[in-house]
Subunit: 424 residues, 2 copies
Amino acid sequence: MALPLDRFIAAGGGLLHRRVLLRRGLVLACALPASRAALAQTDTDSAALPDWMQTPGAPFSGYGQPSPHEAGTVRRIGANRLVDGNGVSWTPLEELEGLITPSGLHFERHHNGVPRIDPARHRLLIHGLVKQPLAFGVDDLLRYPMRSRMLFIECGGNSNAGWHAEPIQRPAGSFHGLVSCSEWTGVPVALLLREAGVDPAAAWVIAEGADAIAMNVSLPLAKLMDDALVALFQNGERVRPENGYPMRLIVPGWEGVLNVKWLRRLQLSDRPVMARNETAKYTELMPDGKARQFTFVMQPKSLITSPSHGQRLDRPDVYEIRGLAWSGRGRVQKVEVSADGGRSWAEAALEAPVLPCCLTRFRAAWRWDGRPALLQSRVSDETGAVQPARRALLAERGSNGYFHYNAIVTWAVDEDGAVTHAYA
Amino acid sequence: MALPLDRFIAAGGGLLHRRVLLRRGLVLACALPASRAALAQTDTDSAALPDWMQTPGAPFSGYGQPSPHEAGTVRRIGANRLVDGNGVSWTPLEELEGLITPSGLHFERHHNGVPRIDPARHRLLIHGLVKQPLAFGVDDLLRYPMRSRMLFIECGGNSNAGWHAEPIQRPAGSFHGLVSCSEWTGVPVALLLREAGVDPAAAWVIAEGADAIAMNVSLPLAKLMDDALVALFQNGERVRPENGYPMRLIVPGWEGVLNVKWLRRLQLSDRPVMARNETAKYTELMPDGKARQFTFVMQPKSLITSPSHGQRLDRPDVYEIRGLAWSGRGRVQKVEVSADGGRSWAEAALEAPVLPCCLTRFRAAWRWDGRPALLQSRVSDETGAVQPARRALLAERGSNGYFHYNAIVTWAVDEDGAVTHAYA
């Protein structure tokens, strides 16, 4: 890099000011001067044109698919070998851009597979502490006023490999990819509960799915009355089977397991049900051996998706650091990046829109000088909550954790440009 | 409807105030009181449970697909019978929600089919009035700073059935569905042009695609330097083949044909090339027989997607009017709806985010009393431009038009609740 970039330095290790990201000359030329052969192809009668310009292309299609050349961009499946419907599949975050996750790549967490539901026979039952139990079919719900919101959903077990004593080496998506983001559209739960008539004694709602384990959890009534949705649409079209077709409970900013898929009933109660997935699982084991339950809200988190594990920087140059940040507490306010393992920080640029409880894409410019570097990102949300260093998270939570890991992630770049996971 | 809604009236024909959309009791109960059989199913040991709760579900999948029950939600293809790669396919707008169009349903307009491009062999050439012609491969472009934007793309021929003397009867999407909205991520064209070095004599850029007709158009250099992108990603993943894989020119707010798919070259010039698709096509034939060329910007437009053609209101009740609005001039500022053919108007609620050159979802509450009604929507954008009545559009443009139709759309609801297309 011969470019005179020193006046743009924002933090140690070569981080540059946000405002120069799109300036002239910041980026080394990656393109090659056009060859004579390339210029000859500007003649559209040339026999040198690629074969796909010499014959008519494929016809129209009713429902499009990715290019066969992108067939490797798939969810990474980690399923139980004996029970193939129990496990997870990860979103390949390091291969994606923007904030929307394509629905076909939205992460999955199933406890007993994806039920094959006939929407004409599916009902949502609202019962328990209500004046009048009600049953809603899909067509009934389509009549109600709707809301659309772009929201992340993150599994409470996302990033749990971070609890390991040694840094596990996996691609970013196969480590942190139990988070995805969609535009969800559905009916506010409050409308439906009011129609059933909420008994003043009700304080909790037990939500249950129509899968073969009837997966259930307890939620405070107040949250459901505030901003929960029964979603019928995901990224414009009907919810995908693996994401809850024909209807999914959406609980903005709260743990994934609470966003009950294949929603079949909401039972109003004066107490939680103490289900498996809120007692044995999805709780936070603390250093004193007790477990925190019902923590619900996903805490602020961020992740650099490029450069990240498994990628390689092929030469000293200016690179765009790209990543995702989110918080279940509200909007992302600020993302900082470090190239020296957290000794100094520079503020990243945030892509619009920055929405509450939604993934936010950040970008920063970095001049890599060819020496080892430690890349990190740290998000602050609008409530003032800041993503903790790993050391701070362990000090609070001990080392026996499994769920709700949100520490700063470190990628180490070595002299050869190889990127690995590190603790720093 | 026995509900006392008169105090919420916002305009004629039963339009209600926006703020009551989500209020208690606004909507008539669509749900049925839960039957004894339904309540029995709250026992998860019950033999009455649906079959999909009695056996494990389907395993994880690498790339998900819509439910087989939604197989009817596809693009409607209108291709040339002799040349099956020439024509369009429409987005079924009336079946979708929110603002994102699923990539599989993004409209298509091809002139000679979808080229099967090997991304490893594809190059973007920048040449003509530049200091140094350059060639960029996909991997080169992935190194550059990127931007992400949610943007609509609308074909200049969208809604052209509106020029017919009689109102054509088709579903909303098969009439107005040559508009779709994606989150596009790519490299600002300005960065690439600066790297090639723009000759001061350059004023136009000729963009050409790598399909079998080498589709080309001319664009003012200033627009490309302002906000155009070479997009590599659409809704998070790589651009779909039918939308330009591996790279597409994105020209925010401008006519669809200018967003050149399969982009293979940008030639800087001092004049436009006068290509077929900016002379014989995509121009506006005026009443005096002359044609407007190079109008570029898509004017403000809106459309009620529900209720719309082919749907039926099954009883007098409160309905949510749902629709989409957009403008290539900037943000949507206001959408008004009318239930009396434009005599009176009420303001609709806009879903966040409201972004420039992006689809915006609007919603309004309407109490249908069972009498004939004429539903309309009218958008105003942040520049003050207002969607015209059909009469006004015809007065300005005459009746020989084919492109750039953006008049107010009217849906007639008859006493039986049937919805048809009308002029009013």
